[in-house]
């Protein structure tokens, strides 16, 4: 018996690629769509970063310096929404688009046209969100959490934000469906689930999380919308509604959302550390189970965001212990990464620096999370800068560092060029130092009682705020350096990258040339 060959997609044949703007508008190729996602997230990172700079400029000195408090609150809200829904999530979806088909030996994503649609929902959403600044009364200033009753009192900017979040949610759902179908169905022959690269595993679990919780967010913001315009009183106490109910619904989405933003980061780090340790990942199976455990636990911890809303002690105890439990699988992961490095033949090129830096700074964020899980402590520091410090250590030091690591690791495959190593290291060390200068003092501010979401603060908090603002400006400047001195030059030129530029790297993505051709794995490879 002979088999003439198998194709990932039926009837594959050479066809003309559209050029110019049509290539991007009608893109169905996973690499093109991945690139679109990554550029979109870069633009949103810069926009959200600009807002962060404005926030830090206002907080440079006590008193109102530059903006009215209402405008300040709009900046804070848009910064959060843009960074979460516009920068971090799309960046990981971009990585998924680029790398999942390459890692599993598939020719493309399962639903190429849906992939195009899910991306092109994002720019209108971003325009709605940023354009809401121009609406009567400005953008929403209710915070990214959109708590009622404040969100019920906002102007039309709130409605624009709700529609924007709906669009971004729909985009995420379509992306998740595509990723699930692709990973489940299009793996190369021989690639069983337990042979999949960790990045694919973490994305598969993340996609399940997205499918599970996105309707919850959609429900919550739709109820907000009907409360605002259609006479319902779901969250209006005057109409027998319950504003606390919103918090339960929101955080049931919101906490898994944190893991949606960090699990793919774990996947990236799990790819990079073995490559630069020149050893297989320590405890692959336990890594998979730990990822799944974190995802499962994320469903039962939401009310740790609500300890001060008045809940029974038994409730506090349950959510406190359940939250602490997450430290176990997370600890397994950190242990495995360190065990992978142990006695490895380590080299510290920029991807490894960011991955190792990730372990260091993300662990700080993890530990402050553990501290916040303790209900009596959380009640003291609720809504203070301690919380700001904690989640920025998770999202900037965690997700963003992993994204940088991913760029340096896979950019040779995307662009066909090696980045400038010195510039990469300069970017890393500046990011690491200024990140800590920015966010570490926030712990002290929080412990001293400085509340979040205020444009002003008492004189006693000045010194740490000055330090934080200086750190933030320099961190922001470092990212501008990353864009103009690393990303753009790497795309335009540089030393040619080999098909496998990292000698310890393993995986199907390194079997195709650099840059990866427009069509790869028309015939799926056999995996032993």
């Amino acid at each position: 018996m002979s088999i003439a060959g198998t194709a990932s997609h039926p009837d594959t044949h050479a066809h003309a690629h559209p050029h110019g703007w049509r290539r991007w508008l009608f893109a169905t190729n996973h690499k093109d769509i991945g690139t679109l996602y990554l550029w979109f997230s870069m633009i949103m990172l810069m926009a959200g970063g600009l807002l962060a700079m404005l926030i830090r400029a206002e907080l440079f000195q006590p008193g109102l310096q530059l903006f009215a408090p209402e405008l300040y609150n709009q900046f804070v809200t848009l910064h959060g929404l843009m960074m979460i829904f516009g920068a971090i999530m799309p960046a990981f979806v971009g990585l998924a688009n680029w790398m999942i088909p390459l890692q599993i030996g598939a020719s493309d994503m399962a639903f190429a046209r849906m992939n195009n649609f899910s991306f092109w929902l994002l720019p209108p959403a971003a325009i709605l969100l940023s354009g809401s600044m121009l609406a009567a009364g400005g953008a929403t200033g209710a915070g990214w959490t959109m708590y009622p009753p404040l969100s019920l009192q906002m102007g039309p900017g709130m409605d624009m934000a709700i529609f924007a979040v709906h669009l971004m949610g729909a985009s995420s759902i379509m992306g998740a469906i595509n990723i699930i179908v692709t990973i489940l169905n299009m793996r190369a022959p021989g690639m069983t689930l337990m042979k999949m690269p960790m990045f694919c595993w973490t994305w598969l679990i993340t996609a399940y999380l997205l499918i599970a919780v996105m309707p919850v967010l959609a429900g919550a913001i739709t109820m907000l919308l009907t409360d605002r315009h259609f006479g319902t009183t779901f969250f209006n106490a005057a109409g027998a509604g319950d504003p606390i109910m919103f918090q339960h619904i929101f955080w049931f989405f919101g906490h898994p959302e944190v893991y949606i933003m960090i699990l793919p980061a774990f996947g990236v780090v799990s790819q990079i550390i073995p490559a630069f340790s020149r050893k297989p990942l320590f405890g692959y199976a336990s890594m998979v189970y730990a990822t799944a455990s974190i995802a499962i636990l994320s469903f039962i911890v939401w009310a740790h965001h609500m300890f001060t809303t008045g809940m029974p002690v038994t409730g506090q105890l349950f959510f406190m212990y359940a939250t602490m439990l997450i430290a176990v699988p997370t600890g397994v992961k950190v242990f495995n990464w360190i065990a992978t490095m142990w006695r490895g033949s380590l080299t510290f090129e920029t991807p490894m620096l960011f991955a190792a830096g990730f372990i260091f700074v993300f662990t700080i964020g993890g530990f402050s999370g553990l501290i916040l899980a303790v209900a009596p402590i959380d009640i003291q520091v609720q809504d203070t800068y301690y919380v700001i410090a904690h989640f920025h250590y998770v999202l900037v030091a965690g997700s963003l560092f992993a994204l940088f690591a991913a760029f340096y690791y896979w950019a040779p495959k995307w662009t066909g060029h090696m980045y400038d190593e010195w510039r990469g290291k300069f970017h890393f060390w500046n990011s690491l130092v200024w990140l800590n200068v920015t966010f570490f003092p926030m712990h002290f501010l929080g412990l001293a009682g400085m509340p979040r979401r205020y444009a002003d603060y008492p004189m006693q908090f000045t010194d740490f705020n000055v330090l934080t603002s200086i750190g933030a400006f320099l961190f922001g400047l470092t990212q501008v350096y990353f864009l103009f001195a690393v990303v753009l030059p790497t795309i335009r030129g540089g030393p040619k990258a080999a098909a496998k530029p990292w000698d310890g790297a393993e995986g199907l993505e390194w079997t195709v040339p650099s840059p990866a051709p427009h069509h790869t794995f028309d015939v799926p490879p056999m995996v032993k």
């Binding site: 018996m1 002979s2 088999i3 003439a4 060959g5 198998t6 194709a7 990932s8 997609h9 039926p10 009837d11 594959t12 044949h13 050479a14 598939a106 399962a110 639903f111 849906m114 759902i173 379509m174 469906i177 595509n178 699930i180 179908v181 489940l184 169905n185 299009m186 793996r187 190369a188 022959p189 690639m191 399940y208 499918i211 599970a212 919780v213 996105m214 309707p215 919850v216 959609a218 429900g219 919550a220 739709t222 109820m223 779901f234 109910m245 339960h248 619904i249 049931f252 469903f299 028309d522 015939v523 799926p524």
Partner: protein, 151 residues
């Protein structure tokens, strides 16, 4: 007795439709478990969005599973060229007289491979690449020649 030759031309699919169905059930149950408590507490919108989303997932899974087992099976044995096609759960079986059968292709692999025997014609090669089609056409031609020589 002529030797038997077989070709299985199929798309790569890691899961059977049944396994994909199981994956859907897991997603559906998970999503319902999430939505149900919210409905009990009056937030029925969550269920509405869950059902909408699950419908989208179901459509995606179905459209993929429908073609998961698509294949073309070509068998040459005992003077008969048997072509079995499964396309979107439609099954078709065509028998051609091996002595009269000929392979028609333009050699580039860009078009499907046409098998003809008298007035019976069938096209194969939907699920393979250009190179695969060229290889299949070559192998089949050789096998048909060998079969004709032996008989």
């Amino acid at each position: 007795m002529t030797p038997t030759h077989e070709w299985m031309l199929k798309r790569n699919c890691s899961l059977t439709p049944g396994q994909l169905g199981q994956a859907f059930v897991v997603l559906f149950v998970l999503s319902l478990c999430v939505a149900a408590p919210f409905v009990i507490h009056g937030a029925w919108q969550v269920l509405a969005f869950t059902l909408l989303e699950m419908a989208a997932v179901a459509v995606a899974f179905l459209s993929y599973a429908r073609h998961a087992t698509d294949h073309e099976h070509v068998r040459l044995a005992d003077g008969c060229l048997l072509v079995e096609c499964e396309l979107g759960m439609r099954r078709q079986q065509i028998r051609l007289d091996a002595r009269r059968a000929r392979v028609v292709d333009n050699g580039t692999g860009r078009t499907l491979v046409r098998l003809e025997a008298g007035s019976t014609k069938v096209q194969v090669g939907r699920f393979v690449t250009e190179a695969g089609r060229r290889r299949f056409a070559e192998e089949l031609r050789t096998a048909l020649r060998e079969a004709a020589r032996i008989s």
